[in-house]
Amino acid sequence: MSRMLDETKEKRIIERRRKNRISKISSVAMPILGIVMLFLIWELWVILGDFPTWQISRPSLIIRSMLEDFELYWPNIVRTFTSILKGWVAACLIGVVMGALMANYALLGTTLTPYINLLCTLPVITLVPMMYVFMGIGRDVIIIAIILQSFAIVTMNSSTGFMNVPVMRIELMTSLRATKRQTFFQCMFPSAINNVFTGMKLSAIFATTTCVAAEVNGSTVGLGALVIEAKTYVRTDQMFGSILFIAIIGVFFYMLSDALEAVLVKWKE
């Protein structure tokens, strides 16, 4: 009886592994293939349409610029990367703590929920010019903007997670007379962690877009600023190069949270 169970289990596992392998290969290969196709079409379109380079650049020139002018990009890449990193990490911490508090204290939850929803939908970038006026052009404004824009989505998702912990799990902790702290860390947090990660991934996207938008709006450093500068000097190749680097950074942060999740969440609900 148990042997039979084991056999079917084994089959299932093998099947799952096979599926995983296919999806792993294709999940890397297909997007790359897609990008290559896109670049090819773009390249041909620009060449055949005979567009002037000040109007639009093409991938071969952009990639050449990304390699040749790398020294120009590098300090801006570092600046944008670290701004996003700082803002995003702060946003995640604030978001999780607030989500936990709002789920545990009903009054706080009902009080803050509308504001959290508002912050999720409000484009914080619209406030940035005003913030520059109050706080001066500088990096603090950018990081604050990132935090404002991206912590709320973490809060929203994690408080949903904390509130949807199955009642019976909490009852098990009560039946063992667990302290509030034990209940939170040994039951609620692991139950909610999937939602927390969903929030973190979305917030990585928010953080990237907000950072670049704030840089576009009045910074002198960072990839966002470089886009504007390149446009002023009619260097469309550098402009697109900066945009590509921004995309790479954004994808990096998204994948970072994915990888963190894969390392920390090894179980299935």
Binding site: P166, M168, R169, L172, S175, L176, R177, Q186, K266, K268
Partner: protein, 266 residues
């Protein structure tokens, strides 16, 4: 006669919901002696779970008293650790934590109670062995079948060596064959450890097969309507199922429950 282990006095529980007040338990008086195996039986929604959840201090009664070993526990805001550790609760569903391995799930009580001696680890080994789970101990719940999971739920309630086991339809979700097998295992464990058991079920045969005594409950409001002492020999085996005396008890119980249901329809 042995001393009273669990006793309730006019126990009441009313749930106030948005639309109505639900009288889940009304004036329940039960008295269970040390080492006794007692079943609570009744139709769905008659307040069976509510009674043992009050005994285990998962929820507070609206009024009435509960005594464990003669000590009143309802007056405490939170029952003392010593009394809480006398009890082990087995849930209607396996209710395992998916992020813990089988072994870690079994040992959760030790983690919460901060029991860290070597003897406990050995006791966990023993329990796993007894339940035939040794080979699964490092698996995660998502990887195992329902019957195995429910076994884990059972031995999880026993790691801290409770004197009382409160079992809320532990095998209700399983097929009849697996259930009978696990019922026999429960009797073995009960005999070996000498625990006091409150066993909830809505299966008449299961109640008669296992218990010394059965409380029958009815709905609306949830209350105890009958108490039947079973005069059947121990140790019991599945052979009992075909015996005349057994079947008579089953018929009697079925009738009690049936009456209750009819009254509810009116």
């Amino acid at each position: 006669m042995k001393a009273s282990k669990i006793r309730t006095e006019n126990l009441n529980k009313v749930f106030h919901t948005r639309h109505q007040d639900i009288y889940a338990v009304k004036d329940a008086n039960i008295d269970i002696r040390e080492g006794e195996f007692v079943s609570l039986i009744g139709p769905s929604g008659c307040g069976k779970s509510t009674i043992i959840r009050m005994i285990d201090d998962i929820i507070k009664p609206t009024s009435g008293s509960i005594y464990i070993d003669g000590k009143e526990i309802t007056s405490y805001k939170r029952i003392p650790k010593e009394i809480n550790q006398k009890m082990g609760f087995i849930f209607q569903l396996p209710n395992l934590f998916p992020w813990l391995t089988v072994r870690e799930n079994v040992g959760i009580a030790c983690r919460i109670y901060k029991i860290r001696d070597e003897g406990t680890q050995r006791y966990i080994d023993e329990l796993l062995e007894m339940a035939g789970l040794t080979e699964y101990q490092n698996a995660y719940p998502a990887e195992i079948s329902g019957g195995v999971m429910q076994r884990i739920g059972v031995i999880r309630a026993m790691v801290h060596k409770p004197e009382i086991l409160l079992m809320d339809e532990p095998f209700g979700a399983l097929d009849a064959m697996t259930r009978e097998k696990l019922d026999m295992e429960i009797l073995d464990i009960w005999k070996k450890l000498g625990t006091t058991v409150i066993f909830i079920t809505h299966n008449v045969e299961e109640a008669v097969l296992l218990s010394d005594r059965v409380y029958v409950m009815g709905t609306n409001p949830g209350r105890i309507t009958r108490e039947i002492t079973l005069d059947l020999e121990r140790p019991r085996s599945l052979d009992l199922l075909t015996e005349r005396k057994f079947q008579d008890y089953c018929a009697e119980l079925t009738e009690c429950i049936g009456h209750v249901d009819l009254r509810k329809v009116k």
